[in-house]
Point group: C2
Chain length 179, copies 2
């Protein structure tokens, strides 16, 4: 049984996941009248659990929507001690060493992990724990913002295995780690 850690995220053409004020309205710059989900449902249906940082968790909690995930969510946090009551049974807090966290989740049967949140993705990449990067490029140059990628202590090589254009404007590239 092979386990994978996968990223599915959108960035601007210049690699930002949010603008300099944290804004993400530009994610919707391309009209999407039929609410195409750009493969998100297909992607999550292959994932066994979602691992996200506290910031992403709190951002999602702040959206005025139903809880959007069908799979168990693990929130990486050293400061959060307890899951708010309304998320009990859906969300679990995990902390400690990332390799150990992944190993424990794999042992519990969560083999394919969807990794989300800027700092979380960066931490996983720093430990070379990412196998797949599915990046949807929103075709705008923001000029400044919060970058998806950050410094690494080693070069990480991937290959692009699939590329799709959506809505005649967005492009989604799927990169797989080559080791």
């Amino acid at each position: 049984m092979s386990a994978t850690n996968q990223v599915y995220i959108a960035t601007s053409l210049d690699g930002y996941i949010a603008d300099k004020n944290g804004g993400i309205d530009w994610l919707n710059m391309i009209p999407n009248p039929d609410n195409l989900d750009l493969g998100f449902h297909d992607f999550t249906s292959k994932m066994d659990a979602l691992v996200m940082g506290r910031t992403t968790f709190e951002t999602v909690c702040g959206f005025d929507i139903e809880w959007p995930y069908q799979i168990p969510v693990f929130v990486l946090s050293n400061s959060l001690k307890e899951v708010p009551a309304k998320y009990k049974g859906k969300v679990e807090i995990v902390n400690g060493d990332l390799n150990k966290i992944v190993e424990d989740l794999n042992k519990r049967g969560y083999l394919n992990l969807y990794i989300d949140g800027g700092r979380t993705i960066q931490s996983f990449l720093e430990r070379d724990l990412i196998d797949d990067l599915i990046i949807t490029t929103i075709p705008c140059l923001l000029g400044e913002g919060i970058p998806l990628f950050s410094k690494l202590s080693q070069r990480l090589d991937f290959k692009c295995v699939e590329s799709k254009i959506f809505l005649n404007a967005l492009v989604q590239n799927h990169f797989v780690r080559t080791r």
Copy 2:
């Protein structure tokens, strides 16, 4: 007659055109036994002239190869006063306001301009003078380096019109400015 300014360049997955030491050996990380040119000849055959910065010019001059361009080259420089003898007839120095330079070249019949060099591309983008970005993503994360893009005083919107995978590993996305 419509004039365009086009970029054709390769970057790492994290958006760098050179590593932190200026190195570009990672550009060749994917074996290319048949020397596929990834559409470069097709691209330049549609261009009337190449505009590059002095740094790029000096880098190309330093390669131990035949002069690689079939089209006239204009080097943006305030410090270079004269073209080295061996490049006379192939290279011309231009300087001053970018909009004026483009206008002058267009008047001379050079309508489709290939814009090359990191700082030159950034200067053209800052003035919203780029119409096409053809970006070949070399699928590695360098972690640090010389970025293709920089700060902008306004957001610039594009759309992705074509995406191609080469050598089962690289992806080339063609973005067109939407105004």
